[in-house]
Symmetry: C2
Subunit: 282 residues, 2 copies
């Protein structure tokens, strides 16, 4: 397992591999790796000759009042997980390397970045698309793997990749959950044990909604109202949003027909949790 810290060295290493005809699968992360990341690495490992992991806590996707400083950085455990999953190359740059003093460039997906999480995290997705554009140029993977847990992020990155003609296929893989349904997240460790028990109700609220939709409810505002009531009754968290939107445009739906994305964010004190479910009404 090779650890590379500079974009230039990545370019050289990847060029050599490409010239040998190797294909590259890539998993971009902020570290604090868990089974969700591991599932992506296994897909990349299985589908491609070379498995590349990046670990970079990207300052540009955190707001000034957000948890950039306290975001977990367990380097040793991350290395162990990467090794266990047979990662070939870890790209592990410094912030100075990624954002030198003359850094002035931004990549933005307009519209899609301002809704849902974007309403509560201004500039967040601009930071995400900027760093992902950099990583795609640094790694030039054949395929990049993202988790469905960050549904809006996946939609925005897919749009950016299509719009800017990156030669990379984007694969979005299922959310990995704890036994009680809580979506894995590097931020779960910030929950108190009481919050942790309550947090399982986030997924339950989505399953409850899916059940109602399967039973015939097509009215999106009614479903949203239902999820909100459920969360208010079962958790002490503060609801940031609950939304039922088109899976591509993220535009709010009135009636649920075909595919719909139900997404939400709930805040437990300083810890913000997100989850979502794609519903397919036939």
């Amino acid at each position: 397992m090779q650890i590379i810290r500079s974009p230039q060295e990545m370019h050289r290493a990847l060029k050599r591999l490409k010239q040998k005809g190797k294909t590259v699968g890539f998993v971009p992360t902020m570290g604090a790796l868990h089974e969700g990341h591991a599932s992506l690495l296994r897909r990349a490992r299985k589908d491609h000759d070379i498995c590349v992991l990046s670990i970079f806590v990207n300052p540009k996707q955190f707001g000034p009042k957000e948890d950039f400083k306290k975001y977990p950085r367990p380097a040793k455990e991350d290395m162990a997980l990467a090794k266990k999953e047979k990662v070939d190359i870890i790209f592990y740059p410094s912030a100075k390397e990624m954002y030198p003093p003359d850094f002035l460039t931004a990549v933005e997906v307009e519209g899609l970045s301002d809704v849902l999480c974007g309403q509560f995290r201004p500039g967040h997705f601009r930071g995400v698309t900027t760093v992902v554009a950099k990583l795609l140029n640094i790694v030039s993977p054949d395929e990049m793997y993202l988790g469905q847990k960050d549904a809006q992020q996946a939609v925005i990155i897919k749009r950016m990749v299509a719009n800017l003609n990156f030669a990379t296929t984007i694969s979005v893989c299922p959310t990995i959950r704890e036994a009680d349904g809580l979506a894995l997240s590097s931020r779960n460790k910030f929950l108190t044990s009481a919050q942790r028990s309550e947090a399982a109700n986030i997924y339950r609220s989505l399953k409850h909604a899916a059940k109602r939709i399967n039973e015939g409810e097509q009215n999106a505002p009614a479903i949203i109202h239902d999820i909100r009531s459920f969360l208010r009754q079962q958790t002490s968290g503060r609801i940031e949003y609950v939304a039922c939107v088109d899976t591509q445009t993220l535009a709010p739906l009135k009636k649920i027909r075909g595919k719909a994305l139900i997404a939400l964010a709930v805040r437990f004190a300083g810890t913000r949790l997100i989850d979502n479910m794609i519903i397919n009404v036939r």
Copy 2:
């Protein structure tokens, strides 16, 4: 000479060439090719195995009141020039192919895009960086060639390429001029013959400034004043700006020491001409 119209087909063609170890030189243009473009194609041809030319009149870099519709599109003559310069692949997409209805992404270099020409053409450089990011992903060249005539464009694209870690070297090549000094431009053909004669004074004003600097003048505002007087006396054009700036940051200089970029724009009725000179005071 192969003409390719779709980004997907470009990806396939370039992948095959890269796997054979071929290097690629790339010249992006809006067509209406002249000796300036030809000089770039000859450099690309000389330095690389494969010479790629793109022709695309990019709607996103024209303002609503600018000359997008009347911008020249002499397809037949362009093909003949490309053939003469032994271009291997012309990428010649439609606007629909480049900007499908779901296009929402923009690439921007902040700060550098708002000064000089950017003051008079809001959104212009955002359109340029967006299309060049697309072209770099479509062609993935080893080296891209730009003309020094578009000095600000070259500075902005170099910054974008560095900031976003594109694996492409950017080479900026000298401005090609008519016998009387007028910088070649696809827009020169819009000049009346009276305007055409006057326009030669643009380069003369820069040479006059260079002479004064070589004689010891270091005061940038005095040089700017001089160029403005010269242009007012020798042409009927309307001066948009005359600036003396740092070659990397485009920040205005007070005193000329080391390298300086002197750049200007003059408008002859509907025709906007730009020119520049890099001065190196040792």
